[in-house]
């Protein structure tokens, strides 16, 4: 049985993988620093490990989907991330793809053909 769980876990993880990027791009409409984003995503039902999220944020920044700024006003300097105009455009396209994919999955699960 535990073998089955392991297999299922692997596939579920595959399905979820792309959703974290989309969730980040959605949540970061307003600037947030890493740890706050981690909590927001967790509350929204996207539990992510810190060691996954931080490298991901940096990758998205390198691709130009996020921009970042250090805020040193408070005692603890923090790096704030926000979606760039490019990020917004791609996010909307990804959201459309997500919706279409959901509909198509729904359709094949019901046994129909598109």
């Amino acid at each position: 049985m535990s073998d089955d769980d392991e297999v299922l876990g692997g596939h579920v993880q595959e399905i979820r993988r792309g959703s974290v990027v989309l969730a980040c791009l959605a949540v970061l409409r307003t600037p947030q620093y890493g740890y706050a984003l981690l909590s927001t995503l967790d509350e929204a039902g996207f539990p992510v490990d810190a060691n996954t999220l931080y490298p991901l944020l940096r990758r998205l920044e390198k691709q130009g989907l996020l921009s970042s700024e250090w805020n040193t006003d408070e005692s603890r300097p923090r790096k704030f991330y926000v979606v760039s105009p490019l990020g917004e455009r791609l996010r909307d396209e990804m959201a459309q793809e997500w919706a279409d994919l959901g509909a198509r999955i729904e359709s094949v699960l019901r046994g129909g053909t598109p």
Partner: protein, 341 residues
Amino acid sequence: MNDDSTTDLVERYLAAVSRRLPEAIRADVTDELRGTIADMRDAHGDDPAATREVLLELGDPAVLARSYDTRPRHLIGPAVFDDFVGVLRATLVTVLPIVLVAMTVVQVGIEGESLPLGLLHAALDTFTVGLHIVFWTGLAFALVERYGDEQRAPATDEQEPWSPDLLPPVPPQRQIGVSELVWGLVVVAVSIAWLPWQHVRGVVDDADGDPVPLVDPALWDSWIPAFIVIMLAGGVLEVVKYRVGRWTLPLVLVNAALNAVLAAFVVVVMTVVGVENPDFAPAMLADDNVWEPRVVGTVVLATILALCAWDVVASVRQHLLLRRDAAATPAAGRGRTSAPA
């Protein structure tokens, strides 16, 4: 709350991550990570074990650093790995046996070592050559992997995109490969080159210090040239065999004929004409060596005859395999081959 030991632990963690990061992002990532660890620790409340838990959550520093830095961490990647193994295998398989045989001949035949000791030396030399081959081939492919990327990158504009038209025709199934060609030519070259060589460096020297050839020098007027002609014919056959690539019936027949000629020649020369230099045995005995010309002659003759016979038998077997395959796949060369071996 930030007592020395926990701060120390955090800084040690940060140092372990940052030293594995590329210079360009090192400071930035480290600062961000420091803030994150502090935030995460606050979320754990006043728990003194919080730092340990946070660091455990972030995991192995090496793994974390790797997820920031996605440069390749291999010398030879999947794109060139198959070529690497292919070249390495082909080189080792062809070169090492030649080196082993050549060095054994040199050590035993020329340096005059005993067979076990000569073999040992030759094996050590072969090992060294093998190390060199592996190292230089590996280095060459690592350089290709690192700097040869632009040419294989799929997304460059000037490169023609792959299409089915680029597929090469199915190569005919080869029975006779490069290694066989190399081996054949080496055998021919060595057996011809040895004849003049023994006049330069012999197994034994005479009283004046000149080498005493093993083969009777009188044979040079006709028998040795004839032998060289037969061996050269064998060399030509090796090349033709390689070009054809398969044991076709004409090839099998010519090969059998040539082997028969060589066997007959060797039998006649060794038993009727006599091959040994009359000066050789006395020189050998004078040099305190044991020399049994009859035993050595018999062994050499038997070996040559066995090799000739085996060559013919092997070629016939390959030819039969070829016929069986042709029968099994009427459209030979269309694609699939059924031969397991």
